[in-house]
Amino acid sequence: MQIKADVGKCQGYGNCVDLDPEHFDLDDDGLVVLLRTSVDEAELEKSGAAVRSCPVQAVWLADDDA
């Protein structure tokens, strides 16, 4: 799976970073930064929880070919 982000929607709530700091970070303006976009099988639970925890659906998971 791949993580996708729409930085324009991000509100800096930070929930994604809290749950999955290996994929997500915030910059000084409080906007999400993807540290890595690929999610392997073992990481899916964490990254899935992270995207579901975004209050504004600024981050989501997509199939590799999407």
Binding site: G12, P21, L26, D28, A49, R52, S53, P55
Partner: protein
Amino acid sequence: MTPDRIPGRVVIVGTSVGGIRTGQALRAAGYTGEVVLVGAEDVAPYDKPPLSKQVLVGDQAAGDIPLLGPDGWSGDGLTPMLGRAAVRLDPIGKQVILSDGEPVDYDAVVLATGAHPRNIPAPEGYLVRTVRELRDSEAIRAQFSSGGPVVVVGSGFIGAEVASSARQLGLEATILEALPEPFARVLGSEVAARISRLHADAGVSVLGSAAVARVEPLADGTGVVHLADGRRLPAATVVVGIGVVPATAWLADSGLDLDRGVLTDEYCRASGAPDVYAVGDVARWFDVRSGEHRLVEHWTNAVEQANLVAHNLLHPDELRPHAKAPYFWSDQHGLKIQMVGRIHPDDRVSFLRCATTAGDKDVALYSRDGGFSAAVVLGWPRAVVACRQAWERGEDLAQVTGRLAALSTTAIPVPVG
């Protein structure tokens, strides 16, 4: 996994963020049984934080704040039963009874009925409002479009956001707080003074020691708010934000342990009956860290507990306790206010001004005997992430200060207030 102990059918009561995220987390974890969502409201599940913000000012409408994925109920693999409230839980027969008497069988049930807003004694009609559901917000928005003044009763976060939205629409707005210091109950005096100033600068009149005696409706649909000390304020809309009551009335004869919420253990399992779980604003869970039961009425808590309950339902031999840092955000007059942790009345408050590439940022740190209790961060989300990690690891004040210093070019203490 021990398949024989995995429930075949999970019923979730409540279709807001706690309920929907529990269902989605079950599916994400590969659960293949049936997941039924019982909801009193007959509308597509929507998110609540925008109801006092974007929806009130018209930046977002119902369709912009969905909780389900793009393909709705079926895309998320959830079975909705909407428009009928659950009126009873029978933990022996393992049934949830709906308002028309229909029983819904469960192997496990998740209670996610949230909370109802408190109100003041109000006259008939639409003058006095609370904001909890989409229709409340839509109705207030319609009322705002015919003008102010807006009087907000209570200086909690939702009220403060309503006042901020009213100002954004150019309406006259007043916040009334019965206690002497507005905002202080949650934030303490020092930070409260700062937030009062934010509102005053934005043109909100913030009144302390302002207890409402009654609201008098006038023939033209507007009204007058009478304060206990005799002051009177004209109002086109009165919005009441004086807290919420957990929605447990329907569980009165269930045998569950209820005490201002559904009491659960640290795994969010309700006490008093097997295979019953509770999440979100209705759940008063056992906090191992403090040794007390706690109820946290914030969005992130509901989502964290949803994930936790999905995990615990599917992994009865690897139960996870709820131990995340309490966290919420609030958006007022363009400023993002984010709070982490739990304030104690004896805490000392210090302000730190941190220079970053995005300008100077202020953080209020609450501490007791060198221990870190809580942080209120103004407009600096990056610091919030650091504070949440520090809180969860039990770091002390010096360690948190060190983390904030590492994120800034300089971090200097500034006078409180």
